[in-house]
Symmetry: C2
Subunit: 301 residues, 2 copies
């Protein structure tokens, strides 16, 4: 069994995910562009590497958790000390960032030429899921490589789904964002409509949750919208980044999108109004601005 | 306790709702424009009335379940033998149709002048919910009138929510439709995006259900979309009727809608292509036409 894990990218998500691997008994060697983050994890028992290449050479499995397609391409294949430069044949590289499906397939191809297996394994669940080890993980790549890495995934997540070949984890994650953010937009539109008509938040949330309008968004963010609680679980800026990936991937395969681009434009209005670092429930602010009402000031009708 | 119920409107929904009232031990007198429907219920033990006025005069509570605002206005107040003409002071009229909130308030006002109480109580749950007595019922009107009628509602529904004053049941129902149909549109867009990229239906539905993309729509209609099963639970034509009410009500209160009108236009395309009497999951057909792919022909990637 693979016990030595290289971990690259100790950001908001990567840090707690790496900690969960340590807690599960894996040996960890980490690399991060900002060294102070490495010191933090070294205190918890991890080794630190001098470069992505060194960490990848050491690991049976190397995990990357980075911000975007460009960062993943650079660390994986383009830089002098890249993962590609270091990784041993028959080792596995798992990219858990959310990036372009086509960039993912390109990187997988380059690693494959050196005999290195790759899985794309983006996650859903945000910081709470990363911290508690309950992420939903959507995995693309060969089934036997996926099965080999199952213990690694189980240290970080709860719902672990094999979605198909390389890139299909990313495709599934992006489809997930189309649906989740579409549900958010629909919920906010329903709430502002009802609020403008004088609806009572408790009655509305009870009714929405009771039938065909119910969703994860209604159950988890509905109350926050009425309370005006915009603390971030999942940030507007990151949702917008995902919708940009969605729209690029859709363009690459000649897939027309209808409601999703409109959701993205509304999120842009939210970003423009300095709410990009708030939670996605701040979507309601753009609607409130247009409607001239705040849902949280509603008086029962 | 009110035991005598007048029931007006024995359509697809009204018929099973009336049967559930009979089964719960209420005395029923029914009226329907098409008399053959009355005969059907008479065999089950209901009395039949000569007009809406006669039925309303007899009942402690009179229920209407009709197709649209115009039909409710005519039967309630505008016709010679209207409910208003017959109903006794201190009796209750419950309109369970889905109609305009403002028309509802106008009718409630006219009934009130005669000392007749009114509740608006539109339902969610479609034919299966009506048949099994598990409808979600959203009620507007005075709280004490609502409480007085609770046994009547409990014979037909499971989730019974008091939403505020007259019209607020309708407002809640319409907000419910904004959210539910928005969730449907988002789900179909995510599914066609993933299908075009070669996604596997089982893996996709598992991943969607595991996190922030989950919804009643995903749980109840996701599989049908992949299977190309368009049998109606809730018909496209009726969804479109509800979205017309949504857009009229929004216009009346100067409420701009953003994604909802686009969902309505896509449903219009589905209606144009002769799928108006199919289930709302036929929304996917419009997207499939634009994308040049059918979700149900997807091969795992």
């Amino acid at each position: 069994m693979d016990k030595k894990i290289g971990f690259i990218g100790l950001g908001i998500m990567g840090m707690p995910m790496a900690r969960n691997l340590l807690n599960a008994g894996f040996e960890l060697s980490v690399w991060n562009r900002t060294p102070s983050k490495m010191d933090e994890l070294a205190k918890a028992g991890a080794m630190t590497g001098r470069s992505a290449a060194v960490v990848a050479e050491w690991g049976d499995v190397t995990i990357t958790m980075l911000t975007d397609s460009a960062a993943v391409e650079e660390v994986m294949v383009d830089s002098y000390n890249s993962v590609l430069a270091g990784a041993r044949p028959d080792s596995v590289v798992i990219d858990m960032s959310t990036i372009s499906p086509s960039v993912t397939r390109s990187i997988a191809g380059k690693l494959s030429e050196k005999g290195v297996h790759m899985l794309d394994a983006p996650v859903s669940g945000s910081l709470p899921g990363a911290t508690s080890g309950t992420l939903s993980i959507m995995v693309g790549g060969e089934l036997e490589v996926f099965e080999r890495c199952r213990p690694v995934f189980e240290a970080m997540g709860r719902q672990i789904t094999h979605c198909g070949g390389n890139g299909m984890g990313q495709v599934t994650k992006l489809a997930n964002q189309i649906i989740g953010l579409g549900n958010l937009a629909a919920m906010c539109e329903g709430i502002v409509f009802a609020a403008k008509a004088g609806g009572d938040p408790d009655a509305l949330l009870k009714a929405f949750g009771a039938g065909a309008a119910n969703s994860w968004m209604v159950e988890n963010l509905g109350r926050k919208v009425f309370d005006g609680d915009f603390a971030p679980g999942f940030m507007v800026d990151l949702a917008q980044k995902d919708l940009r990936l969605v729209q690029e991937a859709a363009a690459e395969m000649d897939m027309p999108l209808i409601t999703t681009p409109l959701v993205s434009q509304m999120l842009r209005a939210v970003q423009r109004a300095d709410s990009g670092s708030e939670g996605i429930q701040a979507y309601v602010k753009a609607l409130e601005g247009l409607a001239g009402i705040e849902a949280r000031t509603t008086e029962p009708g």
